[in-house]
């Protein structure tokens, strides 16, 4: 890892100011939470900033708060482990997404904001040996290369899959992402936070340089049910081949405001609106879930080596719908 200057701001405002100064001065600065993602990239020389602005020691935005109206606010610095344990009953989709991410050691350190902002795990992008489109190269190397773990939807420009499992759940839960930057912050819908490569090849989200996530807000609703499921080749530490989150409001047995979000399949987590429309207002059962799983494949454009992901996407959507409805998906004996 290249040598860098470590800056330890005393407040979030100071942190934002330090990032703004660096931007003004055209100095490469990076914000750091736990560093599990950043240090990994620094070691690979995937990134070589001159300054690192450390957020980890800040006390605000480091806990989960519940307000009287039923909204839950998760600080940017809350670890994945804390979310996995603390939000099991309110938001099983989010808790399970965090519980299944990476390894226990990573989850104990990694923050929610870091998870949402982490860069893709595409092997062309991660390796210092390759200059892919995202790193200023002329083409997406995965599209004509080894793309077995790449996108099967929305892969025309760049075939990465978004790596954040928490993001899949947050999109299903209609979360809002609050940010801070020198000059003011804003609140983004999760759907507006994730950004397709066509908009900006160099970033997977709508954050501007120097803009920081400070809180993630999720509303509880009466009858809210949610679930997250994923499919992995290897059960101990592996990136999902397909994952999905489902949320809906149980209205006397009928599913309302249905969200079906697919992960590990496109450069962003995205809503499978065809599947949602099928389920909306209906009672979920095995047949409907299977039908929704197939509907979720609409618009898929698999690459040479990843068409196998399509049956997985259908399966994971089916299973997640059933899980959210509290029904068996027939795989209990597998564990």
């Amino acid at each position: 890892m290249k040598s860098f200057e470590r800056l330890q701001p005393k407040s979030w405002d100071d942190a934002a100011a330090l990032l703004a100064t660096a931007k003004r001065d055209k100095v490469h600065a990076e914000a750091k939470g736990a560093g599990t993602e950043l240090v990994d990239r620094l070691k690979e020389y995937n990134l070589a900033p001159d300054r690192v602005v450390d957020l980890r020691r800040l006390t605000s935005h480091s806990s989960i708060q519940r307000n009287s109206s039923g909204a839950v606010s998760i600080g940017a610095l809350v670890t994945l482990s804390t979310i996995a344990e603390g939000l099991k009953s309110e938001f099983p989709a989010l808790a399970d997404a965090c519980l299944g991410a990476a390894t226990p050691q990573i989850r104990n350190a990694a923050t929610l904001a870091g998870n949402l902002c982490q860069r893709p795990r595409c092997w062309y992008f991660r390796s210092s040996d390759f200059q892919c489109l995202k790193k200023g190269g002329v083409e997406c190397l995965a599209k004509a290369g080894e793309n077995e773990f790449h996108a099967v939807f929305g892969n025309n420009t760049c075939a990465i899959v978004h790596p954040s499992a928490a993001g899949v759940a947050l999109l299903a839960l209609d979360a809002r992402i609050e940010t801070l930057a020198a000059g003011g912050g804003r609140t983004l819908l999760a759907a507006d936070f994730f950004q397709r490569p066509e908009l900006d090849i160099f970033s997977e989200n709508a954050l501007k340089p120097g803009e920081l996530i400070v809180e993630v807000h999720v509303d509880t609703r009466p009858g809210l049910r949610s679930a997250y499921r994923k499919i992995k080749q290897k059960q101990a530490f592996d990136w999902p081949l397909a994952d999905a989150a489902v949320a809906f409001r149980d209205d006397g047995g009928a599913a309302k405001d249905v969200r079906v979000v697919i992960g590990s399949a496109a450069p962003v987590p995205f809503r499978a609106k065809g599947a949602e429309a099928l389920v909306e207002g209906k009672r979920i059962d095995a047949a409907l879930a299977a039908q929704a799983g197939r509907a979720a494949l609409e618009g898929a454009t698999p690459l040479e080596k990843n068409a196998y992901k399509l049956p997985m996407v259908a399966a994971v959507v089916r299973r997640t719908l059933l899980a959210a409805a509290g029904l068996s998906d027939g795989t209990e004996a597998f564990a």
Binding site: W123, F130, A236, L241, E304, P311, M312, A315, V316, G330
Partner: protein, 766 residues
């Protein structure tokens, strides 16, 4: 000394027969059939406490005042000419020393260009990045299929001589034909010439199966590393190695030093699995840098370097043709293999087909295919998991074709008494008889809409008892009763020091913990490299001989102390006893005629006539999710022949480990190469998938109680045989579960879904 003939009992316990063997001069007679007080039992690992507390220090952990940290500058290209190397910026970093062999070309991604060292690891990294190398990139070929094609870029212009390492299987290394990138075939046969052709002509039926396997990397948890320090004209080395003596020999050759001028130590080694026999280019660099700097140097490869450059199990393409009779008897096999070990040789997979079963006639043709990739090398049972997967897949297919139970088909073709016993023990423990029931239950599950299918499968293991000649053990007993046992052998995890201590403890009537076992140092008597499952079989008979010789000498002293003839004295529980009198071990030692008593034992050659093969049988149970292609291995039952085990705990641990590596090979492991750039995409443990805790099934390791009668301890190894059949057993279980037959490893969800017809073909452009 004259030959001593003796009668010994050999064979499976309960079915032994008495044979006469000629004992090598000075060698004790083998253990008689029956229980022994110490060896053969389970007990805690002697070095367990220091390993579980982090006190065991490995080569990675060497820290010496003034020590430099080394780094290697490596090629980012698969094939290139080196136009220039500019080290001027690196030289400006304080304390940097550079060893630049001025290479003119590189042949694989990750090939070493030069090495340097600096006072800190970070400084060495900065210096390595400051080196500017200009390349002229040349065309490359990186896949087995592409490299076989006429006109593909040549990896070597001239014929390549086979370089053998201690972990390779012995075989003909004679000059082989070389056409393009293909070197071979190396042909061999079993049975009469022409017998295979005749059998195929006369067969009731014939069958052909093609299987492929992927490149597996060793992923030793301690990456390859070597510490070098010049003390006067002596090169002092600590190495993470499977062979203290093979590292010494290589360094003494490179530096033209007498063997006593190179000392190699390996107190603890963090895994090897076949990849750590030599000094390696990194080790030679370390020694050169240390010489140049006049300071000690530690070279520890990072994970990526190890993956790219420090060896791998070659991939393979195997074609098995069987001629058979309607009753399931295989009358002949015709076998062909191609494999790529990158810029190295040694990809043959034909050993299994020749010797595992009783096929009367077999022809084998094996070819290496060169590619622009890092060198393959020995890896746990070289060639055998691949060959086993090919042959066991063919047998499974034959059983299905004939409507036979797969185990019955194997018994039909298995003349080995030992393996027949193993099949029987394993089938009973595993519950093989459930097979038809499971098939029915799967039909019910399918009808009920469940995506889960259960399956069971089995496969045979085959390995050999290789012996490293010349192994010698020294027992040194001091007047205070201290007993030292010395041999230069290293412990890579198998736990040989435990076996050594147990054998000596048994012969000298002492506690295992009281012995000082000194290993991992080339200054001690010669010991085997730990590869090919040779360690126990090579060393333990020498340990026993040394201990027996020491006991004989002690009995002479005790005889004087007790006033009783040596032949009537019992040595047990730390005391010598005769005629109701007893005297402590230490007391007898205090009466030694000299300051120390020294006894040695040599590894005598094996008794003639015994089978050198090691047999095993494994059974696997899987659950396959046919909606996603994901496989969970639920249980493996393994029955192996380890002769008479010395330290049973270690044997069982090695079986468990071999099985887990086999499952990992079956389901996950695959080095992935980008064809266009020729670069490896997963030289790490994030994208190179290695089995972990949640992929670990229940494992039942069992041993047949067998007296092979080849050496004085009935000792044999277990490292390799445990991993040979696992992948094949898992594949066969998957076939049972799904009704489709996997023919390519790893058996990924993608491959299973494809076999099940669930991947839309029109979308696959392949």
């Amino acid at each position: 000394m004259a030959d001593v003939k003796t009668k010994i009992d050999v064979g499976l316990a309960g079915k032994t027969k008495t044979i006469e063997v000629v004992l090598p001069p000075g060698d004790p007679a083998p253990y008689a059939v029956g229980e022994r007080p110490v060896t053969g039992k389970r007990r805690p690992r002697l070095d367990g406490p220091i390993k579980v507390t982090g006190r065991a220090l490995y080569t990675h952990d060497v820290r010496k005042p003034g020590m430099l940290h080394a780094r290697v500058v490596r090629s980012p290209y698969a094939h290139a000419k080196i136009l220039s190397i500019d080290t001027s910026a690196a030289e400006k970093i304080p304390g940097v020393v550079i060893e630049n062999p001025k290479k003119s070309a590189v042949r694989y991604h990750g090939e070493a260009v030069l090495a340097l060292a600096a006072p800190t690891a970070a400084g060495a990294e900065d210096a390595a990045r400051a080196v500017k190398v200009a390349y002229d990139v040349l065309p490359h070929t990186v896949s087995l299929a592409a490299a076989r094609k006429e006109g593909s870029p040549l990896v070597f212009q001239k014929a390549v001589e086979e370089k053998r390492t201690a972990g390779d299987e012995p075989g003909a290394a004679a000059a082989l034909p070389q056409t393009g990138n293909v070197r071979g075939p190396k042909t061999s046969e079993k049975g009469d010439t022409g017998a295979v052709e005749k059998a195929f002509a006369e067969a009731d039926g014939t069958l052909e199966v093609v299987t492929t396997t992927s490149v597996q990397t060793h992923v030793c948890m301690e990456t390859h590393s070597l510490f070098a320090e010049w003390v006067g004209d002596t090169l002092e080395v600590q190495a993470s190695t499977q062979g203290t003596f093979s590292v010494r020999d290589e360094l003494s050759e490179v530096f033209k030093l007498a063997k006593d001028k190179v000392r190699v130590r390996a107190e603890f080694t963090g895994g090897g699995f076949g990849s750590k026999f030599g000094a390696g280019d990194y080790g030679v660099f370390a020694a050169k840098l240390a010489k140049k700097a006049g300071k000690p140097v530690l070279m520890a490869l990072d994970r990526k370097e190890e993956s790219l450059s420090a060896g791998n199990r070659p991939d393979s393409w195997n074609r098995v043709k069987l001629a058979y009779r309607k009753d399931g008897t295989v009358t002949a096999a015709d076998y062909e293999s191609f494999g790529t070990a990158g810029v190295a040789t040694g990809t043959g997979t034909g050993g299994f087909v020749k010797a595992a079963y009783g096929f009367p006639s077999v022809t084998v043709a094996e070819s290496d295919v060169f590619t622009h990739l890092g060198p393959g090398c020995a890896m746990r049972a070289p060639g055998h998991p691949q060959g086993c997967f090919a042959v066991e897949t063919a047998l499974e297919e034959l059983a299905a074709r004939l409507g036979m139970d797969p185990l019955a088909l194997r018994l039909k073709n298995d003349p080995s008494e030992v393996r027949r016993a193993e099949w029987e023990i394993g089938a009973k423990e595993f519950g093989w008889s459930r097979r038809a029931q499971i098939t029915k239950a799967n039909e019910a599950a399918a009808a009920a809409g469940s995506p889960l299918r259960r399956g069971i499968g089995c496969a045979a293991s085959l390995w050999y008892t290789f012996v490293a000649p010349g192994s010698q053990v020294l027992v040194r007993i001091h007047r205070d009763g201290t007993v030292e046992v010395e041999n230069g052998v290293q412990d890579i995890g198998g736990g040989v020091r435990n076996a050594i201590a147990m054998v000596v403890a048994e012969e000298l009537g002492l506690s295992v913990e009281s012995l000082r076992v000194k290993i991992g140092d080339s200054r001690y008597p010669f010991g085997p490299a730990s590869g090919g499952s040779v360690t126990t079989g090579s060393l333990i008979p020498a340990v026993r001989a040394a201990a027996v010789h020491a006991r004989e000498k002690l009995l002479d002293v005790a005889s004087k102390v007790l006033g009783a003839p040596a032949s009537g004295i019992v040595l047990a529980n730390g005391a010598f006893s005769a005629g109701g009198k007893s005297v402590e071990f230490r007391k007898v030692c205090s009466r030694l005629p000299g300051e120390t008593l020294v006894a040695t034992g040599d590894r005598a050659k094996d008794y003639d006539g015994a089978d050198t093969r090691l047999f095993g049988a494994q059974f696997a149970e899987v659950v396959v999710d046919v909606e996603t292609g994901v496989v969970a291995v639920k249980k493996v039952v393994a029955v192996h022949d380890c002769g008479q085990p010395v330290w049973k705990t270690g044997v069982e641990s090695q079986i468990r480990g071999g099985i887990l590596q086999g499952i990992s090979y079956a389901l996950f492991e695959e080095r992935v190469v980008d064809e266009r750039s020729g670069r490896v995409l997963n030289p790490n443990v994030e994208f190179y998938k290695v089995l972990g805790s949640k992929d670990t099934p229940e494992i039942v390791p069992l041993l047949v109680d067998f007296y092979p009668g080849k050496n004085n301890a009935h000792a044999r190894g277990i490292g390799e045989p445990a991993t040979v059949p696992t992948a094949a057993a898992v594949a066969n279980a998957i076939a049972h579960a799904t009704g489709v037959r996997p023919t390519a490893l790893p058996i990924t969800p993608a491959r299973i879904l494809d076999l099940l017809g669930k991947v839309a073909r029109r979308e696959v452009k392949a």
